[in-house]
Each structure stands twice: as C-alpha cells, then as structure tokens.
Amino acid sequence: MTTAHKLFAIAVALALPLSAQAHKTWLLPSETVLSAEDPWITVDAAVSNDLFYFNHVPLRLESLAITGPDGSAVNAENTATGKYRSTFDVHLTTPGTYRIAVVNAGLFANWEEDGKPKRWRGSVEKFASEVPKDASKLSVSQSVGRTETFVTAGRPNDTALTSSGVGLELVPVTHPNDLFAGEKATFKLLIDGKPAPGLDVEVIPDGIRYRQQQNEIKTTSDKDGLISVTWPAAGRYWLHSDTEDDKTSVAAASKRRLSYSLTLEVLPQ
C-alpha cells in the first residue's frame, strides 16, 4: 500500500463508525471496579461487528484521552496497535473514577478535480487551507464520535464524568461503575452539553459470537434526555446512539454527524 492508500484506509476506518452501516467501536477494560492498593487495568480498543471480539480493525489511539478522578489528564502506558486491536494500560494512581475516551472529531470533504474524485479528512483548522473553496461538486460533512468507558478504583466520584460540552455525550444519573444485574440504571444524553431528547439508543450484551440474535435493548431518550436500562444479566454491554444535526463549525459543511459508544460492566448481585 502506498502512503496515500494507507491514509485513505485509516480515514475510512475512522469514518466507519459514523456511517449508516456502522461497525461498532469499543474500548474494553480488564476490570471496572477495583479494590487494590496500587491498581492497574489494561484496555483493548477495536472496531468490529461482534462484541467484544477483535476481528476487524484496531481502534487507533491517536485521540485517546484519559481523565483522572481529579479531572486531570492521565497518560496511557504500554500502548500498542496490532492487526485487530490496540491495547494500553492505565495506572490508577488516584482513587476515584476515570474516564477513558477516544474522541474523533473532524471534517470529511469530497469533490472533483479534473474529473477525478478527491477525498479529504482533517481538522476544522486545516480545512480552509487544504480544501479548495471553489472545488466542483464539493460536499463537506463534520463528525464528532466518542467511544468511551469508565473504571473506578476505590470510592467512585463524578469529577471525570462531567460533560465536555462538545458532541453527543452521556452523563450519569446512576454511576456507570455501580451497575448490577436486575437493577435499573439511568443516564442522561447530552448534545453540546444540553439535554438531548428523542434519541434512539441501543444496548447490546457481550458474547454475540455465541448466540443467534443481537439481543439488543432499544430505548429512546425522554424530554430531559434521560434513558433507563434494566440489566437482564451480569456482563459487559455496549451502549450506542448516533444522530445528525446542522450545527457545523464551517459554512461549507451542511451536516454534523454525532455518535456515542460506551462499554459498561454489569456485576452479579
């Protein structure tokens, strides 16, 4: 593959979770509730149809951001990206709740140059200098996709769970590391920090390879952006929602795609 081909492949991989036939993007932590005095976790990051099996492409870690219990940034350690998955470790040096997120935000542009199709992906800042303004058949869209998970060492807290104010997000009503089989959990969906009503949400349990159906739980956020899920069994779950609006950062972009994917662990009673 040439460098251009590689870049294009990466762009396609990054764009996939935002397309209609989305593959699932996910982060899978080794544990979510920890009691050790000096705890570590390891996390797998991948894009696949099957939960949680890495059999398609790795989730790239360029935009990995870990927020510690005091709100400060935490570095991932031992990062590696292989054929099917990325992995990294997190040293949980401070007790409390950590937010581990891969946020891909940017613009996609298609146009024609000398009768040939051109594609571009990049940041809002680079758009003006890298995409010709007078390009023919120019089509631009913006995307903000967040893939995340939460882990807690010791006592849970909420500092890392506050909204960034950008894109589609979930904030807890029920703490995301306090989930038990048979209990109801409630979360609030936000777009740009404001409650997001009427969004379709799907919640799919782990282990798709070993059953015949997706077994997805479907729900819709209410007028306050709230969703509730009663966990049918212990295990890992993937929660996802996506939508689009016209709140773009550049005039050339007609629409903005928003997506959110969250991995949760539900424990047995």
Binding site: V33, S35, A36, G154, D178, P268, Q269
Partner: protein, 170 residues
C-alpha cells in the same frame, strides 16, 4: 474510694445484662485440587440495603507480588459496593485474616460498637463469601431490632458457605 470501686463494678457487670447477638459462620470443607480460604464479609443492612454495621471482613493480609490481598476485596461484590469502597483498610475491630474450614463464632453486645448505632427497625444479617478459583455466595437472615425475645435464626449455604446461625438474646 469504695463508692468508686462499686461504680466500676456496676459498669463492668452491666454488659452481661445487655442484649446480645451471636453469629456462627461455617466455612465448609470443599474438595478442590486448589483450595484457598474464602474472603468473607459479615454485615448488617437496613431496609435500603445500606450498611448499618460492619461485623467482620476476612481477607488475605499477606503482601504478595500482586500487592496486598485488598486486590480481590472487590470480589466481595455486594460488600465492596455497600461499604468496602467507602472504607480505608484495615478496619479496626472488623477486618482480619482469612479463616480455615470450620465454625467461626462472632458475638456482639447491644449498646457497644458495632451495634451501638443500630436504630430500632428491620434489618438483615448478610454473609458474603468468595473463594479464589472457586465461587461466590451471599446469604441473608432478616431480624428486628431491638431484640424483644430469644430467637434462633439460620440460613444454609449451597456452595461457599455452610450453616449460618443468628442467635438473638434480649
């Protein structure tokens, strides 16, 4: 001076008159190729499943390559959720080393910690056990507080716990 001694005598004898709670936790013999003593938590929960009193937490005290035994305390899932994660370990008078197979007696008196703060109401005694390369089990015995009559209550485990008894004496 004599009055003072009499006072001390009264103080020291009065707990004998107080109501008490006797608990027996049986750790069953398990035929396993690799056996480790279970982690066990014993507590009293109120009607909202909040912990009203921590009675005992037995876990590995020895420092190992993977850190002290606290690494696996979260496997006592309900106890960790309801109380453990809020505590700083060890908990004085509550936490201790894992126990061998057999019957283990615990005795508490009303008016003294950890029962001193127990308000009148309905409660459950909860015993949770989890064993490395083994299973997990949780048993509950409901009771009312304060103790109005002598009662003998029990529950029987299937896997990680044997007979649990709760004796209440007014």
């Amino acid at each position: 001076m004599r009055v003072c001694w009499l006072f001390i005598l009264l103080l020291s004898t009065s707990p004998v008159m107080a109501a008490d709670m006797g608990i027996t936790v049986q750790i069953p013999r398990i035929d396993a190729a690799e056996y480790h003593r279970p982690y066990v938590a014993v507590w009293i929960e109120d009607g909202n499943q909040a912990v009203a009193a921590n009675l005992a937490v037995w876990y590995q005290q020895k420092d190992t390559k993977e850190g002290a035994g606290s690494k696996w305390l979260a496997d006592l899932r309900q106890w960790w959720r309801r109380s453990g994660r809020e505590q700083s370990l060890p908990i004085d008078g509550v936490s201790g080393a894992t126990r061998p197979v057999g019957q283990h007696q615990l005795r508490f008196e009303s008016g003294k910690p950890p029962l001193a703060s127990l308000k009148p109401g309905s409660y459950q005694l909860v015993v949770e056990a989890v064993r490395e390369v083994g299973g997990r089990e949780l048993l509950k015995i409901p009771f009312d507080w304060p103790i109005s009559e002598t009662r003998h209550l029990d529950a029987k485990g299937q896997h990680e716990l044997g007979q649990i008894t709760l004796d209440l004496n007014p």
